[in-house]
Amino acid sequence: MLKLEKRPQPSQLWTWATPVLAVLITMVAGGALFAALGQDPVAAISTIFWQPLFGEFAFYYRPQLLIKGAPLVLIAIGLSLGFRAGIWNIGAEGQYIVGALAGAGVALAFYPAESALIFPLMVLAGAVGGWAWGMIPAVLKLRFGTNEILVSLMLVYVAEQLLAAMALGLMKNPEGRGFPGSRNLRQYDSAHNAELITGTGMHWGVVAALIAVIFAYVLLSRHLLGYHIRLAGQAPRAARFAGVRPARLVLFCLGTSGALAGLAGLFEVAGPAGQVSIDFNVGYGFTAIIVAFLGRLHPFGILLAGLLMALTYIGGELAQSNMGLPAAAIQLFQGMLLFFLLAVDLLTNYRIRLATKEVA
């Protein structure tokens, strides 16, 4: 019989070893899954994890890693602040959309004027848009005691409708021959979030993600506000005793995560995506939740987790096209990652023992 025994304090070793262990178990279980689908498991796993980085076409996929990883990291950093405080923003996808719409709206409003001020203005608008969308669940929670999980999640669907309405109406490209979608911002120099160094995938969103990682690290480890965030999440009563005002944390956490998600949306719409279209959002806001937990809600962990997640996206697509694996199998594979992470997470706070028989 196995028996779980609570550790006197969380194990430092396992805090960092569990994500690695989870990835390894996912590879084994995923390999078994692919084998059951009639594929060579080693080839499938190597297609997902190895080919994008070191394969023949790595020069194309490596930049993709940053392009896909940056929004994930940027959003996940914001979410992790709230998650640390026990404030659950599940609606980053909606904040991402609204940030993109606000930023693109600024660009389209100035079109075709050229100015160096337009892009900074778009960045600001993107952040404010995401922030405002995040403030809706915050204010409702404080004013009426609504549940931020539900409200933020439902606002995703509202945002998706708003996106469709914009792509088909107000922001539709007048020269687009009736096709839905806005003007392509990549063809509008002042608004284009271009690659900073050609061929690397490095754009302003990547820079913003790195700044967010450092900002979050300093906040959580050195600042009183970060301390209060952690305190509120771990021991709400102790936080109130310490003098933390829960309302302030709700506003800060939902506002910040909204703003960062909005920024991610703006950098995406002005760069890799290029235009506001009906299917502009691809689920970064939801995947970022997995990234946040995979990274242990720690800024540097999130950075690594974001890159890993981006890798499975790219490798997954590669496996689909090269090996004919169904898309569902790839999604299952990504789901396994979170599943195993949560499972082995137990080892941080508990140790497993072989129980001797005892009446207790």
Binding site: E5, L231, A238, R240, F241, E358, A360
Partner: protein, 505 residues
């Protein structure tokens, strides 16, 4: 009645990393009250759990009335005639007394017969209890009677009682003692676990003292001073708190007309509470748990907002301020619940030092934490209050209750408060550490601070407080000088013996 009822020899039980009981031997005679004494963690609980069949010893033997006794579960222990009243009751609030008793029985008789038997037993042993009352309406003392009667219905030969008086008023304690004496008169032996040495001196015939899992001696409590017993428990001598103080000074904290509605289902409302504390004095506030102590502390700490003019600190209204501002102004508090309220369980002691010390100890510079200063503050608390821990990096939950309590009290005392409010400052703390904490509170008052000590330990309040008041159902009694106050008077201030009167509003 001179034969040994239960003999325990060489009982040993080891848990990973700690030997809870190391070859413990002692004997309980028929018809005696035998006290089991020891600090927290001395191994008392493990020992009685082995006797009651909840834990199996690694080695050692027991004999009950001459026959080998090795219960493999509590059921076997009850069949052999061993019953136990736990410190925490296991009763269902929504059911009647008789229904609750029936739940614990193997083959319960019809409720009507059971009710009659309960009445019988309760009359025989002087424990007034109506079997038809709903448990949710009973006081703590009455609930304890349900547990006792549940045990007595099994006609036990040995009754184990774990800290039975911690929830009782002095009058209720007296009723309990009469019952226990009646039982011993019939030859029932009682194994009595308690911290309260004066009680043990009044009640018990013999005492076995445990320290670090070993039996370090037996004594006859009536012939041994409480102090000598405490020193046996601790293993060294320690100084009793000393009062040395000047006169009283100005009024530091004034509470006037404080009323608060009950928070949630289990909260207690506070009704028109008014009092003032002066510099240099200790105000003791007694009362049975759940009569508004937690609420009063929450109001004073700033966690529960009240109208501005209800609270005045040195003349300034502070009711509207939150905990941080009150701390900055000199009003510090230490709640009863250590883990999760006074301290964050998973955070290190350094981080927990910041919890209340941030502003007064200057641990924050423009919003940025000064980790070095915080760690130094944590170290000062650890050395100043003899907190036994590997270091300030240890998580709070890894500390024993008593050690964490020393840390929590030390954290507030070292911040040089002008007014300090503590709730149950020595709850679960060993005798030597409790004396040190009380001394720290007295020193604080001697240094010109006002101390409000909310506690359920009457000995403690009598020992350290200058004036005494009691909370009962959210109302504060008249506040009287402690000197010259008799235990009976204190009991009446606490609301008398709950349940002695038949009507219960």
């Amino acid at each position: 009645m001179t034969g040994d009822l239960l003999t325990v020899s060489g009982l040993t039980k080891a848990y990973p990393g700690v030997v809870a009981n190391d070859a413990v031997s002692f004997a309980i005679r028929e018809g005696e009250v035998h006290a089991l004494l020891g600090e927290n963690g001395a191994g008392k609980s493990t020992l009685v759990k082995m006797i009651y069949g909840l834990v199996k010893p690694d080695s050692g033997t027991m004999t009950l009335r001459g026959a080998p006794y090795a219960p493999h579960d509590p059921h076997a222990a009850r069949l052999a005639g061993v019953a136990m009243v736990f410190q925490h009751f296991s009763l269902f609030d929504a059911m009647s007394v008789a229904e609750n008793v029936a739940l614990g029985m193997e083959k319960p008789p019809a409720l009507r017969d059971l009710a009659a038997r309960i009445r019988d037993v309760s009359e025989t042993y002087g424990l007034p209890l109506d079997p038809d009352r709903t448990v949710g309406d009973l006081s703590a003392g009455e609930r304890q009677r349900v547990e006792i009667i549940r045990c007595l219905l099994q006609e036990p030969r040995l009754l184990i009682m774990d800290e039975p008086t911690s929830v009782l008023t002095p009058q209720e304690v007296e009723i309990l003692f009469q019952t226990l004496r009646k039982l011993t008169g019939e030859g029932v032996a009682i194994l009595y676990i308690s911290h309260k040495l004066e009680e043990i001196r009044a009640l018990c015939d013999h005492a076995t003292i445990l320290r670090q899992g070993r039996n370090v001696g037996t004594c006859t409590p009536r012939e041994t001073s409480a102090r000598a017993m405490a020193e046996l428990m601790v293993g060294s001598s320690f100084a009793a708190p000393e009062r040395a103080r000047g006169g009283k000074g100005e009024v530091l904290l004034e509470v006037s007309g404080l009323s608060v509605a009950a928070q949630g289902q289990f909260g207690t409302a506070l009704h028109a509470i008014s009092f003032a504390v002066q510099a240099g004095e200790v105000l003791g506030i007694g009362g049975v748990a759940g009569n508004g102590q937690d609420e009063l502390l929450a109001v004073l700490s700033g966690e529960m907002p009240v109208a501005a003019e209800t609270l005045r600190l040195k003349g300034a209204t502070i009711g509207q301020h939150g905990p941080s501002q009150r701390r900055a102004m000199g009003l510090l508090t230490a709640p009863e619940e250590r883990l999760g309220h006074a301290a964050a369980p998973d955070m290190s002691l350094t981080e927990n030092a910041i919890l209340t010390g941030a502003a007064r100890e200057n641990l924050v510079n423009r919003g940025f934490l000064k980790w070095d200063a915080a760690e130094a503050f944590a170290r000062r608390i650890i050395t100043g209050f003899d907190v036994r821990t590997p270091g300030p990096g240890t998580a709070a939950r890894a500390l024993s209750g008593g050690n964490l309590q020393k840390f929590v009290i030390g954290r507030e005392v070292l911040q040089r408060p002008e007014v300090l409010v503590v709730n149950q400052p020595t709850w679960g703390v060993d005798a030597a550490a409790a004396a040190a904490i009380r001394q720290a509170l007295l020193d604080l008052a001697a240094g010109g601070a006002a101390v409000i000590c909310i506690s359920q330990d009457l000995d403690e309040l009598i020992e350290i407080s200058d004036r005494f008041g009691a909370l009962s159902e959210g109302r504060l009694s008249e506040i009287r000088p402690t000197q010259g106050l008799s235990v009976e008077e204190i009991g009446l201030m606490m609301g008398g013996a709950h349940g002695m009167e038949v009507a219960h509003v």
